[in-house]
Amino acid sequence: MGDIYSSAELTLIAAAGANSAYGLPGIGRDREHPGHDVTIGRLRFVTSYEWDTDEIYRSIWSSRAWTFQEGYISRRRLYFTDTRLIYICDKEVYCDAEIGSKTLWYDLGNLCRSLPVKGSWEYPATSILEEYTRRKLTFDSDALNGIVGVLNTLSKAESPIFHTWGVTFGRLPYARGPQPLAIALSWFHDKPCLRREAFPSWSPLGWEGVANFEYRSPVISSSFQVNVWEKNKYIELSQVKQDLHQQIDAESVEKSRYLGITAKLSWVEVRYFSAYEMLSIDKSSVVVNGLPYLVVPSPGFHVRVPTGDNGEVYASMLPRWDSEPDLSLGILGMIRVPCALIPEGGESTSIAVMMLRNHGTHYERIGYFDCLRTYARGSHFLFKDDNGALTVEKLLEDVDSYGDEEITRDFNNPEMQTFLLG
């Protein structure tokens, strides 16, 4: 399919209407003028979009997973929308209606996520997945097929980016010195979503929700290693020279669903806070800028990590759950959830926490959060737990660095372990 679109002289794109009976505006039906064109006194008001391309982005054509690949891989695209005709090749954009300023190729708005924009590798690779997971897929089993043609184009680039089950990895070309190898496991969901069991939990394709990526991806280092299945054995990620989805036989495909991860493994306490509990927390001792602290922390499944010297004070953070944990197994509404600590970025001390569910032979991920980002986002508080009566001690201050010392303190003495992530 990919070759057919990339080999075409031009691709006509029906970016209007909900089906193939709608026709192409300007041929089968008259084009509409924008909603308003009103003159008041000497002034003329014309409805416009933020970008000329917004009409394409908001079309049903743009809402479908399969069309992402068709538009991305084409070389020359002629979009038929209800109000205009837009031509976008890999260099230039033309439009037969101009309202406001001319649309430029590097300012295509949201649509640029569906086009081969050049840039640092992490951004295009991860924005492809972000855009793709936003789109509607009729059949779950198509999740990988609908994107694989686009991901293939990345493996042919000068700094090749490969992928396994849609998760991209490659060398960071802009780094100084030896180029670190990064793998885009740093995604999260805004809210819990349904699992696609046919795909691994560590891939955004393994879930039905929209994937968001952190700016930085985890980097392979002495404290974080990833092995992947290729042909007949596990090999280090750095040894991979091709896209791994090309493994055709069923056994290899099955084995490739598991990553062999070596990382610091530990556990965190997870506790559910209801809206009522959050409202009733005593915050009287907290003063911010001389004013009482009135913000009510968000209810939900919080991760509760010990902090401070004596272990009496806890930090509570609302992580990003892919799938909420089952608290019915716990005592007093609290359970221990296994987690892997993954360093993000190159020399940065940012640590991501991947929360896991134990499946006996392997783990699956159920949530993700970045320590620095989560601390800074304000969805956290420090509290004392005195026989169930919660007192907010103070707000957790923004953290500049998060290193071994803090990890050991907050994550119950994690140990390096190797495990399968499926």
Partner: protein, 264 residues
Amino acid sequence: MGNETERLSIDDETHTCERCSLINFESLEKTEPAIRAYLLVEVQDLSQPLTDRHCPTCQILQTAIDVHRSRYPSARVYWYRTSGSMLGLLGWITFEYSMGGASYLLKPDLMVSDAMARWPHPKTQLASRRVDFGQAKTWIDACKESHPGCTARCPRVLESLRVIDCVTRSVISAPEDCVYIALSYVWGKSKTCDAPNSSAVLDQVPLSIDNSIEATLMLGYRYLWVDKYVRWSGAVFDRLRLTWYLVYRPSERCRQAQPDKPDG
């Protein structure tokens, strides 16, 4: 409704509502662009229409509000005066909405230009009702001349590719070195979507495909590739070493297996 009826005058008091008649467009127009002037309209509840539909000012504000009201319950509407002369563009209407204590601006939904001085405004060019293929051809030609990177990515001939010959409106094996146009579209719940026999002449096709055939010809090309019309020629793709699942939308397979189910 034609444009003439929409171009209402602000002087027509019977059409301008009481609130909007207080808006001093004249003064805004005369404001020195160097000063960042704006017109502010507070809209507390975006779920309610601004006022009656006869007021043109309310209508244009409402148009902008409609875009965002599902996402933002309340907002302030600003009309920013453009600083500097952007070819007669006087500014834009924008929204400021608040969420979680922070304020956000939404970029323009309504462009405001100086109607009388430059009419039609050089930068406010609406598309004609019908596509001008001559113009589209100039874009394609310009791209071919100056963008070597935009040339078809796959140099090899796609052997035994099946395409629609737009002149005879029949599905044929693509000739050698076939230059073809591809179509990307949403099938949806269209009724006339049965794939024809491989050699059939296409007399009844969905409107979008019919229009694409016309567009192909008008752009000076002859062959059009539409996924629905090549699905029976699976064997040819083996030669391209493309796996089955890459060639076909699997949803198409499902539909073949369940012919009675409505299109999804």
